[in-house]
């Protein structure tokens, strides 16, 4: 798997708070190939966004533990110093569309100036050349070129989202992290953005890591799916088989909670609260809420590779 784009091994990111250590990302391992879209699914507060931050090393001040391996094109970027990481990894290799994408634009810059910022920072292009490149990217994401001279507050939510996406694509990075890129948009705009993403993936061969709680939307783009629960990845699977038949009890519950149109069906929910990441019990982290728990769940299950190449962290598949 050394020719893969991104390998994450045993990545841990713990935060220090006044009431204890939050194990937001706790021993996460996965790999991502080129031109692949991985959807990371999970409830709010399960550590999805922290995973993105851990990969891009965008750490808040209260970090308790941050270790593991992140390899990009086989290079161990965790060993890079802060300055080298900023220059070589951020945006050149991995860019991100932030969760609060609507607010991720500098309110005092015109959007074109905002979008060319990475070009100026990383490539030192003259402004005109950078603007020409920005023009291409704007067309790619479907922002009318005459919007380039506007300020962020003069754009609609969908347009702002596209601008943020344009900014993420402007350096043509092999991997784009999308942290809830469509969560604040209406369904039509969501569909629109997903179509743009699909087209970009097809045309430029960019890989995406789509972090979302919106299973329906993610199914549009994802080739592979990773389910996250309480700082762990509990299932990694290819998209087709996952959406047909999720393995992990948590994944099954998650899928059952997706509403379908015009279908008499009681929406399911998962009893109990999502696990507090502060006071983690021994054993399987989902066990307290799991309908299928049995004695062995007292011990922490390892990542189990099934015969058909899927991974699941549950004793049921031993």
């Amino acid at each position: 798997m050394n020719n893969g784009l991104l390998q994450v091994e045993d990545l841990r990111l713990h935060y220090r708070t006044t009431i204890g250590v939050v194990q937001a990302v706790d021993g996460v391992s996965f790999a991502l190939d080129q031109q692949q879209a991985l959807a990371v699914l999970g409830e709010s507060g399960c550590g999805k966004s922290s995973l993105a931050r851990a990969i891009l090393r965008l750490l808040p001040r209260n970090v308790e533990t941050y270790d593991g391996y992140v390899r990009v094109h086989g290079l161990d970027v965790m060993a890079f110093g802060e300055e080298r990481f900023r220059r070589e990894v951020r945006w050149n290799k991995i860019s991100i569309v932030m969760q609060a994408a609507m607010n991720a634009l500098n309110p005092v810059l015109r959007v074109a100036d905002q979008v060319i910022e990475p070009l100026l920072v990383h490539q030192g292009l003259p402004r005109e050349a950078a603007l020409a490149r920005a023009c291409d990217v704007f067309q790619m994401v479907g922002v009318p070129v005459d919007f380039m001279r506007r300020y962020a507050f003069e754009l609609s939510g969908g347009m702002r989202q596209r601008v943020v996406l344009a900014m993420a694509l402007v350096l043509n990075p092999p991997l784009v992290l999308l942290d809830e890129p469509t969560s604040a948009l209406d369904v039509l705009t969501q569909a629109n953005i997903m179509n743009v993403l699909k087209r970009i993936k097809r045309e430029t061969g960019t890989s995406f890591m789509l972090i979302t709680h919106d299973i329906a939307t993610s199914s549009e783009l994802a080739d592979r799916v990773a389910v996250m629960y309480a700082g762990h990845l509990v299932e990694i699977s290819d998209a087709t088989r996952f959406f047909d038949e999720p393995l992990h009890p948590y994944s099954q519950k998650l899928m059952a909670s997706v509403p379908r149109l015009r279908q008499e069906r009681r929406l399911e929910y998962i009893p109990g609260r999502p696990l507090s990441l502060i006071d983690v019990p021994r054993g399987c982290r989902f066990a307290p809420r799991c309908p299928k728990r049995f004695a062995k769940c007292e011990q922490d299950p390892p990542m189990i590779h099934t015969e058909d190449g899927r991974q699941v962290r549950c004793w049921l598949y031993e």
Binding site: R87, W91, N92, M98, E117
Partner: protein, 445 residues
Amino acid sequence: MSAVLAGLRQLRHYPSALIGMTIVLSLLLLALLTVLTIPYSEAIRMWRGGEGVWDENPELARPTWFQLFSARKLPQTIIVDTRQGGKEIANQPDGTRIVNASLRFEFPYDELPSEVGLWLSTTHKETQPFVMLRWLKPNGQEIAFEERTPQGKDRYFLSRDERLRERLKARSIEEALFYEGTGSNARLLRGTYELAVEGILFEPDADLDARLVVYGKVHGIAGTDAQRRDLGVALLWGTPIALTFGLLAAVGTTVFSLTISAVGTWFGGRLDAIIQRITEVNAMLPGLTLLVMIGMFYSRSLWVMLLAIILLSMFSLGIKTYRAIFLSLKEAPYIEAARAYGAGSLRIVFRYMIPRVIPMLIPAFVTAIPGFVFLEASLSILGLGDPDIPTWGKLLSDAYANEALFKGHYYWVLEPAVLLMLTGMSFAMSGFALDRMFNPRLRTA
């Protein structure tokens, strides 16, 4: 551009801002015109050039427009010179030559001139010429002055000739020269006066010229001070200096404290702590006292003072206010987004954090300008003004030193004071309106 126009259109709703801005613009225009028409070196020559420059100005004259408030016609300065013509030279058989000149002038005013002075200039090698002077009043009366033997350039201040006054038995020379009659019947004579100059030259190439100055009681747009200097020069040149000083101090202070505060907040940790402690210590230091010490022991140069003021107010409590804004700004999503795409710290500070607070800063900045103008005036009044540069504060300081108010020379104090007040008021009015425009919570309409 359209944003600027929209802003200007918004200004219409604030009449005080319109008035304030108009005054600010007029002051700027005045400053610009002054700098363009009176070069700095010329202004300094006119202000510090020595007696030769302002000899012919009246002493403590009121401004000319004072005439508007007076029913009596106030005398202006009259200068007549033999070089303008009216000089005759006749050769005598004994080899001497006789110069005859009459300096004639109209005197239509209702008040006595303040002084009368005469300059005689001769060119001779050894033997000084002999000069006889006669004063002819319009009524035909004649006063003979003492004969003089001028040496080179001779300055004869008639008004200070005590012996002449005693001989004429008058209260003052001016009364003797311009009054008809004596005692309670005396009245001012209007009409053509004449000073007849008769000189005997003993050398063939010698020459003699005379220049009579009848000093008035009004002068120029601003009057003169006790040293006969035209206050107008200082008032006019005080404008660009005051504005430049205020602007530079305000710019320096805000830019530096903003940058220091932004850098401190962004990098945090020990740097931030050091900046905060410096600010707190500096807030306890008496700034004016420090400035007085610098003025007494080091230098009174305006620019040294400017630097000292910027250094002292750079770490003012404003840093705390900015820090509060920056602390919340630092966590804003778009700053994190900037970090994500690899923007360096300086780029984030200067392109993302500082531009964000500038709109909030502009009103405070505009209102800060007159504060520094007043500070400079205060220093001048305390006697720590730049000795070389004419400033408004320097005028006030001179007026104070010469007891202007006590002696009734109100114009000397009022002129710079009014300009200072106008400056303060106009910037304050503009600043308050800008505050309402930029701060939505204060917006009324």
